[in-house]
């Protein structure tokens, strides 16, 4: 693993720790920012020390050639986001995420947030709002600037992570796989819209990266657990992604006695989410909407056609590059007569799970699809791109692309 990859992962986990500690202190009725700061520094510092101590010779330095490509990626994204950034973010940013942050930034009246049942979604996990609230109190301003900086971090980190992770195998495939999202206006726009979908995509990618680390790196399940915990604490969909991820990797985890490490990584965000869900938040509207009519929806073929058409449209228009990659992998599987890899199957299971969420949704189906389906599929894009790149470089006829200019 690249040293830079580990630093990016740790930064993501630090965001999670800050949000968990800030929310827990609020829940305990402690409004001291100093205590929040001391606890955060201690937790983040401890984590950094723990991971750096465990380098075991597996962390490699970044070559100057790779640094140049990374700089090009970042420059390219910076130039593009300038034109598409909105001050208050998209609708969901100010109507949900930053709204929650404004409540959480007030230690005396933050619980009024849970009265906003109409359009407010107060049951949503708090990774983004709590971090934004923490930093908006630190700087003594509104939530927009911290939300924007967080959005930029997660958006920019994804192509960089994709590049770093794949560059060890093939610099050419790594450049392609990182450059495609870095040039995708839809992805960049979602990223700087201050929504939670790109952060969720980032953490899901981190989980896939973590389990792909060499077996010798004994902290890989701790990293994977932390990434899955972050998924759960970022969005409700994170629970679906984490559950499917766990099911697909449970055999490997048990075989390598990694369950304890995985749980250690995930325990803090899971406990914080439990406190939120059990102690404060009202029931989720989608879960509450499940009833006898759901059975009728499950047997309604028209709903399947509508959801299929919507998914097909998104995958062939907004995320056509992801679909093309999956298609290329499909051809390779047939040509090489191999079955798809575990991670690729996991992605398909996630897509099917999201498909079924819409089938069972109690909301107006057309509206629900129009307002969220593209963002849900985007959550899977970075992990899918990495998996596609790994499948192509592992089973594809592109061995010449394994040539690495950096000589590493």
């Amino acid at each position: 693993m690249q040293r830079t990859t580990l630093y990016i992962l740790i930064t993501g986990f630090a965001v999670c720790i800050i949000s968990c500690l800030y929310f827990l202190l609020l829940a305990l009725g402690i409004s001291s920012m100093l205590l929040a700061l001391i606890l955060t520094l201690a937790a983040v510092g401890g984590m950094v020390w723990f991971f750096i101590r465990e380098k075991t010779g597996l962390l490699s330095e970044q070559s100057s050639f790779r640094m140049a490509i990374t700089a090009f990626l970042l420059l390219n994204m910076m130039m593009r986001v300038d034109a598409i950034t909105e001050k208050y973010g998209g609708w969901d940013a100010w109507a949900i995420w930053n709204l929650h942050a404004r409540y959480l930034a007030n230690p005396d009246h933050w619980q009024q947030l849970f009265l906003n049942v109409r359009y407010g979604h107060p049951d949503y996990p708090m990774l983004l709002p709590a971090t934004i609230a923490y930093f908006s109190r630190v700087i003594g301003a509104g939530p927009e600037l911290p939300a924007f900086i967080l959005g930029i971090f997660f958006t920019f980190a994804i192509p960089v992570l994709l590049f770093m992770q794949q560059a060890q195998k093939s610099i050419i495939i790594a450049t392609i796989v990182a450059l495609v999202p870095a040039m995708d206006t839809f992805f960049l726009h979602q990223g700087v819209s201050m929504y939670a979908d790109v952060p969720l995509a980032f953490f899901f990618l981190c989980a896939v990266i973590a389990v792909s680390l060499p077996v010798a790196y004994r902290l890989r399940f701790l990293l994977a657990g932390a990434a899955l915990g972050c998924c759960i604490w970022t969005k409700n969909e994170g629970m679906i992604l984490a559950g499917i991820f766990f099911l697909y990797h449970v055999r490997g985890i048990m075989k390598e006695r990694g369950l304890l490490w995985l749980l250690m990584g995930a325990v803090m965000p899971i406990l914080t989410l439990l406190i939120l869900k059990v102690g404060f938040a009202p029931a989720n509207d989608l879960v509450q909407g499940i009833g006898y009519h759901t059975l009728a929806q499950l047997t309604d073929t028209h709903r399947y056609i509508v959801v299929y058409s919507s998914f097909k449209k998104i995958l062939s228009e907004q995320l056509s590059y992801m679909m093309s990659g999956i298609f290329i992998c499909g051809i390779l599987y047939l040509w090489r007569k191999v079955i798809p890899g575990k991670n690729m199957m996991m992605i398909w299971t996630c897509i099917i799970a999201y498909f079924m969420v819409y089938i069972m949704s109690s909301q107006d189906l057309e509206w629900h699809l129009a307002t969220s389906a593209d963002r849900l599929l985007l959550q899977l894009m970075p992990a899918t791109m990495l998996i596609i790149a790994e499948e192509i470089s592992d089973i594809g006829p592109f061995s010449f692309m394994r040539f690495n200019f950096a000589g590493q």
């Binding site: 930053n98 709204l99 404004r102 409540y103 007030n106 933050w110 009024q112 906003n116």
Partner: protein
């Protein structure tokens, strides 16, 4: 307007039509004040947001029957923060 409203207070919002956007914007800008648009459960203090071009006579009647605490206008709307007399 914020100096007139305590952070822990509850405020009703009445606005023209069924535009959820105005209600959501009020909620965002005035958080952590709890904002409700439910006409059945209006608190004592209500913010009326009226259309600048087409004066809503029914809304104006309601406002006239209340005590106006604060008012302002921009290029689109009139804003009246009111309480019961």
């Amino acid at each position: 307007m914020l100096p007139f409203i305590s952070s822990g207070s509850r405020l009703g919002v009445v606005h023209p039509g069924a535009d959820a956007g105005i209600y959501m914007q009020c909620r965002y800008l005035l958080a952590p004040v709890y904002i409700t648009g439910d006409k059945e459960q209006m608190p004592d203090t209500v913010l009326y947001v009226g259309d600048f071009n087409g004066r809503d006579s029914a809304m104006m009647t309601q406002i006239n029957n209340r005590r106006v605490l604060w008012q302002a206008s921009d290029s689109i709307y009139h804003y009246y923060l009111t309480s019961i007399r």
